[in-house]
Amino acid sequence: MKKKYLVLIGLVLMFMPRYANAMHIMEGYLSPFWAGFWTIVSLPFVIVGFRKISKIVKENGNKKILIALMGAFVFVLSALKLPSITGSSSHPTGVGLGAIVLGPVTMSVIGMIVLLFQALLLAHGGITTLGANTFSMGIVGPFVAFGIYKLSEKIGWKKEVSIFLAASLGNLATYTVTSFQLAVAHAGASEGVMQLLVKFLSIFAITQIPLAIAEGILSVIVYNLISQY
């Protein structure tokens, strides 16, 4: 049996980005209090999303397959290396495209499942930090992406522009929230939340801004290719 798990790890290592610009909060980075706190904050969104999915699959049971395929798609996307201007490579989140196609509420549930597998299969994020990561990647990211997409659609911008902004700003929003979560969890007597937040933001900005741009460009390319088909 153990041997078989090795094959799995082999597969995982093959895909693992050589340079990880981790978006998700690692296992052990949040105290029990904050781990619980973010789980509770995420819960209502996940419940609403779950209700929506229940309604969808009640109408058509085949949609279960489709939703799971989407989840798997977001997962493999996150296992993919993305060319980035800084020379390192990392993965897209797929949050933007996912939110545009499926709606942000549904994405919260899919995001949570994907995060669970990222923790279990890629050692990316963690089980105790699942709540916090769901909040940043499964809730805030999709909502920002979706909101921006709708907004720029209303303004009448070109579809490409809307998608670029939605995908890249959704990505940025995710990392901003992650930084905030880390800052509030680790603020102490010597350093306040703001001080820590500024530090996290500026460090992650180096890796994350080019990445957000890359994800935006990629989302537009994919959109264009699919509409050609």
């Binding site: 990880a20 052990g28 798997a72 060319p83 994907v114 350093e191 994919v222 290719l225 699919i226």
Partner: protein
Amino acid sequence: MISIALFANNSFIHLAIFSVMSIIVTIIAKIPIKVYFKMYLLPIAFILLSLIAFIFSISNNDITSLFSIKISSFFIIIREDSLIQAISLITRAFSTISCSYFLILTTPFNSLIKLLLKYKVPVLLIELTMLTYRFIFILLEEISKIYRAQDLKFGYNTMKNSFNSLGLLLRTLIVRMIKRYKDMIVSLESKNYDSQFYM
């Protein structure tokens, strides 16, 4: 174990947990040491990056610091308390990570599903989790084959090519996913699927 690791505030407990877990995984579960430690590369990248934020501070004086560099009128300093905090964070991270690797490497997915069923997680959520798990491996195989074919035709040799190739890769994957979805529905119907995946 993971909750002990998470709640404990003592670095020695953390290191002890980390060692025990690593020994179990590498010696008893016979995971090659090389592979096991390779798995830590990813968390280490995250830890190093965030440590920069934890350890270094910017200050206009260097009174409380253990170490400082002056840049024009600012100091980049390392404070003793933040260093201690960082060390305890690293050890906690390593011990909890070792616990979750233990879980990953020794618990089959089906036991996890049974656990979820036992704790009355909504069935639909378990169904979706289970299906997603199955499809992840199918799509990983697909994506690796498409990527390989592109790579061998120089699809990733420049940045511009990479973006173009990645876009094509995702499109190909999506088109194949839609086809797969249609074929799977046929197969489900042939087995009298009634909108429920029993477990």
